[in-house]
Symmetry: C2
Subunit: 228 residues, 2 copies
DNA sequence: GAGACAATTGACAACCAAGTAAGTAATAGC
DNA sequence: GCTATTACTTACTTGGTTGTCAATTGTCTC
């Protein structure tokens, strides 16, 4: 990304960082934007605070991103790109169906636990009714390949008698996300209404087991003839 | 709170509405506030739009609620009160354990589907890190009675051999909420990434079945000796 | 070292927000 | 009827917002 790209005035490979480090400034603004949007949403975010976090002048934000909304759009794209590229490294098709689905569940759970920024950006975007995510070229239908992979696993497992017939791949994946998502996305409200700290390591670990169990139990055949 | 209910200078029951309808004005501002906070969150909400929706003057908002934040707090309390009072009418302890848990699941699913304002307020409040929900007297630990009810059902079912031993009541309830929540709370982002309209009646109905199934399968004993 | 150009900046304009002061007018009690 | 109360309103202040202009400074090429 650093040098293999689009600067039409690129004066050739010199090896050192360009002038006063434009790429680093851009990145620091993007990161600061993600943090700020996670804490305050789009309308609550302040461009002044963003550049304060980034340690640069407000003018740079407009120089690199034109407007607060375009920065938000770039931030949204960034967090989705990260998820998709991590998913791509999973290769669950190589594994036995039930094991593969449990691995996907564990991966999703761990990803959400490790990446609160993704969840917060998703919350913010849903409060905005998906106004921006629709307009990012790389995102629409980007989950389709994963759904097809899950469907393949379900078909294989069903044929082998190790998976309960009739499970819908999309509903299953939505449920995996749901179970991995809620205790982070609604951490504060749930913690208060239960009187328990859901961020505690004990609860997070217990829940991981619970979620993998729940999905594992669901996909296995009910009638106990798990042969083959 | 101090001004929440019966005015202490209530001059007796006269039958007609009080003077220039103070209660109706207050209620219309509260409702308009809920709608506005659902659409824009706390910081994105505009007091000018709220009073426009409510059909009254901006000064009335400050007269009845003192500030935008206190109106937000009142709105949050309102949506939680509604959920708790509906839950209270369920009486699931009278029913057989598995049936009771499936009924709770169906109720939760239907409530979330029918009450998007609850979900949106929860999202907004979590983006605010639960700053306000903690400060509402009636809410902290308000889910505890329900968790105890679920625990009682699980114990009974376990003793009768109709429920899988070792299930944690809180984790189970979190999962029920999760499964009922996600397709509403993340409707826009999920619809875009899947390329499917999750609000469609077909999907919503299919998902209800899926969720009840998932929970029902999980709580039943795995080893097939569902006796008694 | 000189010059050029890109990265960066301080100061500011235009705007919109929440919240307020001081008043108007409709209703209730006498 | 008249007076006191109080629901309600207009017009405004104050402060923060996004976005911009003109100028400055660092770095690279010559």
């Amino acid at each position: 990304m650093r040098d293999a790209d689009n600067d039409d005035h690129q004066p050739g490979e010199t090896g050192g960082p360009r002038s006063r480090n434009a790429q680093a400034t851009r990145k620091s603004i993007l990161d600061a934007g993600i943090a700020e949007f996670c804490e305050h949403g789009l309308s609550g975010a302040s461009t002044a605070r963003i550049v304060e976090r980034a340690g640069c002048n407000i003018r740079m934000l407009y120089h690199y991103f034109q407007s607060k909304e375009l920065l938000y759009k770039a931030a949204l794209q960034e967090v989705y790109n990260d998820l998709r590229s991590q998913e791509a490294g999973l290769n669950i098709l190589d594994r036995p169906p039930v094991e593969a689905i449990e691995a996907l569940t564990a991966f999703t759970y761990d990803y959400m636990a490790a990446t609160p920024a993704f969840i917060k950006m998703v919350l913010a975007e849903n409060l905005l009714q998906g106004e921006f995510i629709r307009a990012i070229d790389s995102i629409p239908r980007s989950s389709r390949p994963l759904i097809e992979t899950i469907q393949t696993l379900l078909d294989r497992g069903e044929a082998a008698g190790v998976i309960q017939p009739g499970i819908d791949a999309m509903q299953l994946y939505i449920s995996i996300v749901a179970l991995s998502f809620i205790h982070i996305s609604s951490r504060y409200t749930l913690s208060v209404t239960f009187g328990v700290d859901l961020s505690s390591e004990r609860i997070v670990t217990e829940r991981r087991q619970h979620v993998v169990d729940l999905i594992g139990t669901y996909v296995r055949p009910k009638s106990g003839h798990a042969a083959s």
